[in-house]
């Protein structure tokens, strides 16, 4: 099958099932309903005063009916500080459990220790919004027989609703919890802020274990995860290291290049028509993306503009903007900075939201639908404005779909910020290696060498030109950068598909092929 972006998609993958090709960002949503039926959540009953406390994670897992072929889920709110995923899989491996489907909301460098389990058959399928580091390399080299499935944050919720991902066991790390399983990430020594991605897991998993290093008296508030979904509670010494949530990505960059791009992006936003009282805004953490917030903050102060809400991955910089009175509300699905937790806990205008409310396309309206402006990064972008945030220039899986396509789909103005080349690799391509976010949902590309506006955006290019901004045709900018860097030779792939990139509506927007290279070896 060929999807609407011209990408070849198989009709069926063993171990995954029948695939549906992407037909446009709004093709399925426009119908007003989801084609697939939703599955019911599990049917459970507990007797009064039945204890949920377990002495150890092993005991909780033993009581959760571990079995071959099970699906196990995790959230990634502790990002690189998470230890629960590896610990749980070590336990399951030691129990001899095999053929596990891993459904983590994302996988990061700290999860590299599970790599041997991909080789020995402990883990045979992966659903995740992102994969990085050694895992991404190994998978790109064809380590797994069944392709990994990359989902957006909103798409993950849809996948669970439809039963495409049926979770047998959800292990939910919480920085505070009580004996009944009411749990939160908002306080405690390992506070990590919002626990928004785990809410759907708690709702739909057949068994739910809450793991905490801070067992508090009943009731644990806020009720981010509620007891009516939790089977077992375990107290451990540590759920991880919150200082590693987002090392270095919550400070405004010092990189002159990132700052330059951010300033241009802020100028674009100012001139776009979206920068007005009551506007809503989302930026990513780190690099040029977060730096845009610095310039927007200054422009809001100068012009006396007050926004409506900040959305998404929330940094302490966002909290500062809320406290400055520049925005009315923060909707926080993920806190990119442990320092955000205190605001989440104490400020009633800082609201924790689950992933379904954040970005699931199949409901009566997620918050991304209300976004005016989102600023996103890119590993690559092509002349049709399609964006790759999952595979690197060498073909490895090294990024995350995350909320990229969700927010791009919803925002009135989607601004992609990236340098025109990194090292000596051009970022603007004729055709990206892997499409994650379709070009029809991207409006402006901002690089240090020029600003490109999607032809679908009407007068925006003219308006930006009138404002003195350096607007260029994306084809011209691509050629200009190629003259500096040269055009890299194409990557060589085999026919084997190692990854499926699901669009948020469940269709397949692209596939990732195994890269042809020397035999991959496990790191010593």
């Amino acid at each position: 099958m060929i999807n609407s972006l011209g990408r070849k998609i198989p009709a069926f993958i063993e171990g995954i099932g029948r695939l549906e090709p992407f037909e446009g960002a709004y093709a399925k949503i426009r119908k007003g309903w989801m084609d697939e039926p939703t599955i019911p959540p599990p049917n459970k009953a507990y007797l009064p005063h039945q204890s949920k406390l377990c002495k150890s994670l092993e005991e909780a897992i033993m009581r959760s009916n571990p079995h071959d072929g099970m699906t196990i889920s995790f959230h990634h709110h502790l990002r690189n500080g998470d230890v629960m995923l590896v610990q749980t899989l070590n336990i399951l491996h030691n129990m001899g459990i095999r053929d596990i489907t891993l459904a983590s909301s994302s996988l990061l460098e700290c999860h590299d220790p599970i790599l041997p389990y991909l080789q020995d058959g402990t883990i045979t399928r992966i659903f995740s919004s992102g994969i990085r580091s050694e895992l991404g390399r190994a998978i790109a080299h064809g380590l797994m027989d069944i392709p990994v499935v990359i989902q957006s944050h909103g798409g993950r919720v849809r996948g669970i609703h439809t039963g495409k991902v049926q979770i047998d066991l959800a292990v939910i790390a919480a920085s505070a919890a009580d004996c009944e399983g009411n749990a939160t990430g908002a306080h405690g020594k390992s506070a990590f802020g919002s626990i928004g991605y785990a809410v759907i897991d708690a709702r739909y998993a057949k068994q739910v274990i809450v793991v905490t290093d801070n067992l508090v008296d009943y009731p644990c508030i806020p009720l981010s995860i509620t007891q009516n979904f939790v089977d077992y509670v375990v107290e451990v010494d540590s759920i991880g290291d919150p200082s590693k949530i987002a090392t270095g990505t919550t400070r405004i960059t010092n990189s002159p290049m990132d700052l330059r791009i951010a300033k241009l992006a802020a100028d674009v936003i100012e001139q776009s028509g979206c920068f007005k009282p009551g506007f809503s805004f989302q930026v990513g953490a780190g690099g040029a993306s977060l730096a845009v917030a610095k310039y927007i903050r200054a422009k809001m102060k100068t012009k006396g503009i007050k926004g409506s809400f900040l959305l998404g991955g929330i940094t302490s910089y966002c909290v500062d903007m809320l406290n400055d009175g520049l925005f009315e509300t923060i909707f926080d699905v993920q806190s990119f900075d442990a320092a955000v937790s205190n605001s989440l806990f104490t400020n009633r205008r800082h609201i924790e939201v689950p992933a379904a409310l954040y970005a699931n396309p199949f409901n009566c309206g997620c918050i991304t639908n209300k976004l005016d402006v989102v600023v996103l990064g890119a590993l690559e972008i092509d002349v049709d404005f399609n964006v790759n945030v999952i595979t690197g220039s060498e073909g490895y899986i090294r990024g995350a779909s995350g909320g990229h396509s969700d927010t791009a789909s919803g925002a009135t103005l989607t601004v992609v910020v990236c340098p025109s080349f990194r090292g000596r690799i051009p970022i603007i391509k004729k055709r990206v290696h892997t499409v994650v976010t379709p070009g029809e949902t991207v409006h402006v590309l901002v690089t240090e060498r020029g600003i490109c506006v999607s032809p679908a955006c009407g007068d925006l290019a003219q308006n930006l030109k009138k404002a003195g901004l350096m607007v260029k045709d994306i084809h011209d900018l691509e050629k200009e950068v190629d003259l500096i860097t040269g055009v890299p030779g194409p990557l060589e792939y085999t026919d084997k598909i190692v990854g499926l990139v699901e669009y948020r509506d469940g269709t397949i927007i692209d596939v990732i092929h195994q890269i042809k290279e020397k035999q991959f070896k496990l790191p010593v």
Partner: protein
């Protein structure tokens, strides 16, 4: 004006993207002695191939008293950058000698003598003493710059954030440049993390007459632009002054008043300068009255 070390290809290739009015590709102090020839070749090749967009390109060569100065000129002059910056200028005689060499090289390559200009850098006590002669004797000198670090070293004093040690030099150099009707560019502010310090020093430089400031990091550009760019209020006021002046002049009237304040020729000249900085033109009578955006 953004300083870029001449031996750093990554920085040179990005020189045009930061929004600086001009970049200074440096062959002098930022390049180690054993890399002078490599930097010279690098700058030559990059000036031929890299698009610096609207940014003016200047090159700081080594002093002719060093083993590198002449070779720098022979390589750079044929490329005709916007300007050659000459370090540690101490006398008009020295400038005359420099121009003679430059013009010989230009003649050899069939190049005109009036396109590329010269920036004389004042970085010694002797240069400060002779600055008016340096600034005024040769029309090809269109800017004077002060090098604060070298000047304090020459004076055997320590550079302090308040700039006290070089305050006299700053003002003397400004006066020489003003008397010669050429640009005057302030020295760099060395602490790239002290944004407030940079702002204060730049505001002071503008107040005493500098027309620009050198930077060593692109992060400093915005602050300098911010200080040197007239505010919207200043531009509106200047626009009104110039417009009313022209209307009054056409009616044969000289001095007039706006909001009770006397407007005479010096005030009008200052207003015209502000409009020039803001790239604002006076529209003819009856045209759209909203020229300032």
């Amino acid at each position: 004006m953004l300083y870029i070390p001449g031996n750093n290809p990554a920085m040179i290739q990005q020189g045009g993207v930061y929004g600086a009015d001009s970049i200074l590709l440096d062959l002098e102090d930022s390049v180690a002695l054993n890399q002078k020839d490599a930097a010279r070749i690098l700058i030559r090749n990059m000036m031929r191939t890299i698009d610096f967009y609207d940014t003016e390109v200047c090159v700081r060569v080594n002093h002719l008293g060093t083993p590198f100065g002449l070779a720098d000129l022979e390589e750079i002059v044929p490329l005709q950058p916007s300007a050659i910056r000459y370090p540690k200028t101490e006398s008009a005689e020295e400038v005359g000698n420099l121009l003679e060499i430059i013009e010989k090289i230009e003649d050899k390559h069939g190049l005109p003598h009036h396109v590329m200009t010269i920036h004389a850098m004042i970085e010694t006590a002797m240069g400060v003493q002779n600055v008016f002669e340096i600034a005024s004797k040769f029309p090809r000198i269109d800017a004077i710059t002060i090098g604060g670090q070298d000047l304090t070293a020459d004076m055997n004093i320590i550079y302090t954030p308040d700039g006290a040690g070089i305050d006299f030099a700053r003002k003397r150099i400004v006066m020489a440049a003003k008397a010669s009707h050429i640009d005057i560019i302030d020295t760099v502010f060395p602490d790239v993390n002290d944004e407030e310090g940079l702002r204060k020093e730049t505001e002071y430089a503008r107040k005493i007459g500098f027309t620009g400031k050198a930077v060593i990091n692109p992060r400093q550009i915005d602050i300098i632009h911010n200080v040197f760019t007239p505010t919207e209020e200043e531009v509106r006021k200047a626009y009104r002054i110039v417009k009313e002046f022209r209307a009054n002049a056409a009616a044969g009237q000289g001095v007039f008043a706006i909001d009770g304040k006397m407007i005479d020729t010096p005030v009008v000249r200052r207003a015209e300068y502000i409009l020039q900085l803001a790239h604002v033109e006076i529209l003819p009578e009856g045209a759209d009255e909203k020229p300032i955006t």
